[in-house]
């Protein structure tokens, strides 16, 4: 057993999915222990793969293993795994967060209907997600990509009795599916140019210049559309906040830590192609910047804790794309990792709050919960500061890296935009924390019945809080070395042909980064301290137009709704009308009516009178005889 058998990582949870889906209903406790067992086995397998990978004498070269899948003449498909440092890191993130979320769910989902189904789909999700990051070819990536999408659909719509949950699930699936149209087109375009789906071979072909410039740019942009859809980048971001209709552990696992980063992962995986394609990196950067900025604004006016976190997730995904836009996959993956930990922590923390307050997630009804829920409060505090970017917590190091790289690549203008987004991040995070955990409770009744959650839920919180605090330190050479890696994360992940670079603190940027976080935190603290809304209300009233725009999230949803209702559905009605009245009633039934009408007219020749028929025969005979004589001449 070694890195070649990494496919087992996906196979094990998939097997547990089958068991849970088929027999879960009959098992005691809905088989939740099988779910935990499944994920823990995946985690153990990950450790085995990791150790084997680090021991490989080939100096961390990728481990490849593939088999023939099907042949149609010259069209040969191979399926296989490709294990390199990026995959290993993703394995770690996925398995660790999954273990925590599974354990947390045992407490959080207790007593829910379809309990077993929740765990079953969770296993399927983990299996698909692991498959996604280990796939060696784009076809397999696409397969896993759709599978995680369908798991997301099932889990967002878990409370299907609620119309809003069903709508949200539908919206998520269809929006990402629109991006996937681009992804599939891109994949097939690459196949058309290179004759293969294998990622490494495509990268090689692109680097060798075997693909025309425009063709390459168009293809990679199609692929990037898929990444934007999955990672909820503007203008595809609308589905993610709605996806918060799903159970909170799902939001933590799928819509914060793992599935939504699939786009980041795939872009990182294909980054050499983005570098070759002229202008592609700029597009990636601009998309990331736009998203980070816009969603920062949108998060400011939200009052639902999960929605704030959702917009924050979209924004942080924007940060990751900005990191990718600098051409450094390591930084994006680094931010992905730290973000996964602290955002999963924040979501699970909000889940703990929601659970404790009996499904209350409106800030307008919360406040002052720290005393009631000390563990949740403290861990949430750590997570918030990590998100805001205070040293030495995880978020600081990865954001700092992004700023440095961004400055090198695109210059100060980009840093300014992203810096503003970072200030807003710190601001809304602090606002979220103060309004939920500090000051006076907004609703005494809710406050009264609140109590700290059990250990099965606080345990994962504490563990994730630990990771949120220290995981950023893996950027340092010594820390990485100590863990058995060749060095810090930037020395572990780097593009082939590039040199690993060792991390050194850039004091100027560190100070600037710290200043941004502080400004944001101070601003929010000044405005909301003691959970008082006096100052913020005054601000909102000072310029109601801006406030309304923020509150309605720049009218994206309204715009899309109008396009769908007026455009798409209207067109569909038009086509249906055309089909019914033009093609069917005019074309098909029309020809039937013409036949019927002709028959109706001609039937009067049938008089029923024998003499008429006899006369017709006689005249016919005479006519034929005359005609015969004439023809014969």
């Amino acid at each position: 057993m070694g890195a070649e058998q990494a496919w087992l990582l996906a196979a094990v949870p998939a097997g547990f999915f089958l068991v849970l889906a088929l027999f879960g209903r009959q098992l005691p406790r809905g088989g939740d222990y099988l779910g935990v067992l499944s994920i823990v086995s995946a985690f153990v397998l990950f450790i085995v793969v990791l150790v084997d990978f680090l021991d490989t004498p080939g100096k961390l070269g990728p481990v490849v293993n593939s088999m023939e899948w099907s042949n149609v003449g010259e069209f040969k498909l191979r399926m296989g795994t490709f294990i390199d440092p990026i995959t290993i890191t993703m394995f770690g993130v996925i398995t660790i967060v999954s273990v925590m979320v599974n354990v947390f769910s045992v407490g959080y989902m207790k007593g829910e209907p379809r309990y077993f189904w929740f765990f079953a789909v969770l296993q399927l999700f983990v299996a698909s997600m692991l498959l996604l990051v280990m796939a060696d070819n784009l076809l397999l990536v696409y397969i896993a990509w759709e599978l995680v999408g369908v798991c997301s659909f099932l889990l967002i719509g878990f409370y299907w009795e609620k119309r809003s949950a069903t709508e949200a699930a539908k919206k998520a699936f269809i929006t990402t599916r629109l991006g996937d149209v681009g992804l599939l087109i891109g994949i097939i375009l690459f196949w058309r140019a290179t004759g293969t789906f294998n990622i490494q071979e495509i990268i090689h072909a692109a680097e060798q210049g075997q693909i025309g410039d425009t063709y390459l740019f168009v293809s990679i942009m199609f692929v990037f559309l898929g990444c934007m859809g999955k990672s909820a980048q503007v203008p595809f971001h609308v589905w993610l906040p709605d996806a918060m209709e799903g159970p909170t552990p799902v939001s933590a696992l799928i819509h914060a830590a793992t599935m939504v980063v699939a786009g980041v992962y795939l872009t990182a995986r294909l980054l050499p192609i983005f570098e070759v394609a002229d202008g592609a990196l700029l597009v990636v950067t601009l998309v990331g910047l736009t998203t980070a900025l816009l969603t920062g604004f949108m998060a400011l006016a939200q009052t639902d804790i999960k929605k704030v976190l959702a917009y924050s997730t979209v924004g942080q995904l924007g940060f990751m794309f900005v990191a990718l836009g600098t051409g450094h996959p390591a930084i994006a993956i680094f931010h992905l990792t730290t973000h996964a930990f602290f955002k999963a922590l924040l979501f699970l923390g909000s889940g703990s709050v929601i659970h404790a307050t009996h499904h209350n997630q409106e800030m307008d009804k919360l406040g002052g919960l720290w005393r009631k829920m000390p563990i949740t409060g403290t861990t949430f505090f750590i997570g918030s500061l990590a998100l805001a970017g205070l040293p030495p917590l995880a978020g600081f190091w990865s954001k700092d890296e992004i700023f440095v790289a961004l400055n090198d690549k695109w210059g100060a203008w980009a840093v300014l935009i992203l810096g503003f987004a970072a200030v807003m991040t710190a601001f809304y995070t602090t606002r979220l924390f103060i309004r939920t955990f500090m000051g006076k409770p907004m609703d005494e009744q809710v406050h009264e019945h609140t109590h700290e959650s059990g250990f099965v839920m606080t345990g994962p919180l504490m563990f994730l809080a630990l990771l949120a605090a220290v995981s950023g330190l893996v950027v340092f050479h010594q820390v990485g070395k100590g863990l058995g890696f060749p060095g810090g994360i930037t020395e572990f992940i780097f593009l082939p042909g590039e040199h690993p670079h060792r991390y050194h603190i850039d004091w100027g940027f560190a100070a600037a980064s710290l200043a941004m976080a502080t400004v944001g935190i101070w601003g929010a603290a000044w405005m909301y301290w003691g959970n008082s809304l006096k100052r913020s209300t005054a601000l909102a009233e000072w310029n109601p137009g801006v406030y309304r725009m923020l509150k309605s999230k720049f009218y994206f949803d309204e715009l899309y709704q109008a396009v769908i209702d007026r455009g798409v559905l209207g067109f569909s009605y038009l086509v249906s009308w055309f089909d019914r009245y033009v093609v069917n009633d005019t074309g098909v039934d029309g020809s039937a009516q013409v036949t019927g009408f002709t028959g109706g007219v001609l039937k009067y020749l049938q008089t029923g009178r024998v003499p008429n028929y006899a006369m017709a025969i006689a005249l016919g005979v005479i006519g034929l005889t005359v005609a015969g004589l004439v023809v014969r001449g």
């Binding site: 029923g608 003499p611 006899a614």
Partner: protein, 102 residues
């Protein structure tokens, strides 16, 4: 020997009488009789031609016998229909039996 033309003229006269009867008469029985006249005219032609063209063979006579057979069968059928018609409608006028239309 009587020339062939005489037979043919006779045959043509009988045939024309038959045609006139079929076209002009309204009584079903009379129409049937007219049809018989036409058939007999044809038989006469067959026999006359056979006798003149190839006296050794009796091909024409055979055909005449066929025609008689068919005519008999036809009259049997037709009279049955006429009787049914008369039973149902109390008439043998074919103009009044014009229900088999449209």
């Amino acid at each position: 020997m009587v020339p062939l033309e005489n037979y043919l003229v006779l045959s043509a006269i009988i045939f024309s009488l038959g045609v006139y009867g079929v076209l002009a008469r309204r009584n079903a029985v009379l129409i049937l009789m007219s049809v018989e006249l036409m058939l007999n005219a044809v038989s006469l032609n067959f026999i006359a031609f056979a006798a003149y063209l190839d006296p050794d063979k009796i091909t024409g006579a055979i055909f005449a016998v066929f025609v008689i057979t068919v005519a008999a069968a036809e009259v049997g059928l037709a009279l049955a229909i006429v009787i049914r018609l008369f039973r149902n409608r109390a008439t043998s006028n074919v103009d009044e039996a014009a229900i088999m239309k449209w």
